[in-house]
Amino acid sequence: MRTCSEDIREDKLAEMARQDNPVAMKTLYNRYVRYLTAICSRYIDNEDDVRDVLQDAFLKIFSSIDKFTYLGEGSLKSWLAKVTVNETLRFIKRNGRLDFVSLEKENIDIEDDEPELDNIPISEIHNMIRELKPGYRTIFNLYVFEEKSHKEIASILNIKESTSASQLHRAKAILADKIRKYQTLTPYAR
């Protein structure tokens, strides 16, 4: 299918997609699908589920694009991300058993120094986040990437604020540990 020229502006693209212009819709998809896939897969580790959620997210995007208001460059991208995150959370709440692992179960060294991120590929960090247990992963994503407070996370996931805080603390420790281990095991990366 033909697509719009690469440099078409966000507001024009959204306007055309709103009018059910198939070319504009395909262009919008092509432009943002990889970005939205990254977001969605940071929350969900199963590839089939990622595809299903993305499919629903795009359908939602196309059916509610008339609700989008252009507020300058980048606003479409962040609106798309918001719709996708909402759709992802909806899926997690509906299907995921967010087992908030009791804190004693795992034995991880908690070190005070911060891990170094410079010599580690982004895709590797992405995968490490995906390897976290669903509960840790969801809270970590909401806190770090969506910049939600523990109060907001508690209300989104219907958990206690203290649970959110303790789970995040744990998630950070596990991730930092993974990063350090990665760096020890692959000295060439340094």
Binding site: V33, T37, S41, R51, S63, E114, P115, I122, I125
Partner: protein, 415 residues
């Protein structure tokens, strides 16, 4: 642990991209072309209209139920008061039989609910405006009721009756209140009541007069009519217009239902129901009558198809249509012979006829999902009951086309 590295991490991953899953666009395209998605905006609008209509219907029906409670209760008050004043007058006319009089009062008060029901039926037929008038007069009547009792001309023994009277009346009211609260169906009964008046039909009254003439030789008012209560009733109703009154109580139905979701809109549903149909057939005058209470118990299986019109958060709004097959498993008839509003003789026997009832129904409902498995629903609907080829007279045979409001719990499986 400081969180600077998290800021760093957020920055690094902010614009990270990954390859899209295979076949994603193809699937999206397919969905976009499906009629459901194309008409999305349009469908949304009619769904919203339907949802609004159903909500309105629900609000109206619940308002109706609540307002019915009020009307019933005020009529009760009114009647109870009238009842008390009637007794006073009677006692004044028979000052000698003080002891028996007080006993009579208690009995009479016990019979009050029946009397109430009867009067409600009449009044409902007469019109709702009438009830409003009654409600207005309550305060006046209740003011008046105390005054005829207080005069000093009444003997001291009778004064003792007054508190007794009050307590009986009170406890009766409490019982009634309790029933009204625990069983909302009672409040709706007047909607389903039906009255047939046969005042002064020639052969009927002539039969009565002849009986009365024969019985008049027996004389005394206080005679024991246990041996032939029918005769007593006819005697006491001498010269009065009698009426035949049929009152069907609202069918009381409880059940359990299971739904299986075929897709996210359509589900098929079945279950098991128990229905109790009670009807009162009353013959005579207000004070002296024969009351036949017919009580039929049905076990049924409903099958219906449900279409989900609108979902919002935990709430589903849907339309449903289906069939309901019910088999009568037990039937009973209780005959009360009431003389001067006092149950003289009571007989109970079982009904041998066990009819099979088939009905079709359509309804609209709203369901609140407690979990994905269990939900509470309320659905107003209409149903049509086919002839059951039995000789029994029920609410379904008299009024095959009926409105109803079902409230219950639903278990949903599938998907």
């Amino acid at each position: 642990m400081k969180d600077n590295w998290l800021k760093d991490l957020q920055g690094k991953l902010a614009d990270y991209e990954r390859e899209a899953p295979d076949m994603l666009w193809e699937n999206i395209e397919k969905q976009l072309q499906s009629p459901r998605h194309k008409r999305n905006a349009h469908v949304w609008t009619w769904r919203k209209y339907v949802a609004a209509a159903i909500l309105l219907l629900l609000i109206c029906s619940s308002y109706f139920l609540i307002s019915q409670t009020d009307i019933d209760m005020s009529v009760d008050n009114h009647l109870a008061n009238i009842g008390t004043s009637n007794i006073d007058i009677k006692e004044l006319s028979k000052p000698v039989a003080t002891h028996e009089g007080s006993k009579g009062v208690v009995m009479e008060q016990h019979n009050q609910p029946r009397y109430k029901n009867h009067a409600i039926t009449d009044r409902t037929i007469a019109g709702v405006s009438h009830i409003a008038e009654n409600a207005d007069t309550i305060s006046k009547v209740s003011d008046q009721t105390d005054s005829p009792i207080t005069p000093t001309e009444i003997e001291s023994t009778e004064k003792k009756d007054i508190p007794q009277k009050r307590t009986t009346y009170k406890s009766d009211m409490n019982v009634y209140n309790h029933i009204a609260q625990s069983n909302m169906h009672n409040n709706e009964k007047s909607r389903f009541s039906m009255g047939i008046y046969t005042s002064g039909s020639p052969d009927h009254s002539s039969a009565m007069t002849s009986q009365t003439a024969m019985a008049s030789s027996l004389g005394a008012d206080n005679a024991n009519w246990e041996d032939d209560p029918k005769l007593g009733i006819m005697l006491f109703n001498k010269g009065k217009a009698t009426k035949h009154n049929v009152k069907h109580h609202l069918p009381v139905r409880t059940g359990i239902s299971f739904a299986y979701e075929l897709n996210d809109r359509l589900s098929i549903e079945s279950g098991l129901t128990y229905t109790n149909l009670t009807s009162d057939f009353k013959e005579g005058t207000d004070n002296n009558y024969i009351n036949n209470r017919q009580s039929l118990h049905y076990i049924g299986i409903p099958v219906s198809v449900r279409y989900n019109i609108f979902s919002w958060k935990l709430i589903d709004i849907y339309g449903a249509a289906g069939v309901h097959a019910e088999q009568c498993v037990k039937g009973q008839q209780k005959t009360d012979y009431i003389i001067e509003q006092k149950t003289d003789v009571s007989e109970t026997y079982s009904i041998d006829e066990k009819p099979f009832q088939f009905s079709v129904n359509a309804s609209a409902g709203v369901q609140l999902n407690a979990t994905s498995l269990i939900g509470i629903y309320a659905e107003p609907g209409v149903s049509y009951h086919f002839k059951d080829n039995s000789t029994l007279q029920t609410i379904y045979s008299d009024k095959p086309f009926n409105f109803n409001l079902n409230i219950g719990i639903r278990f949903t499986f599938g998907k």
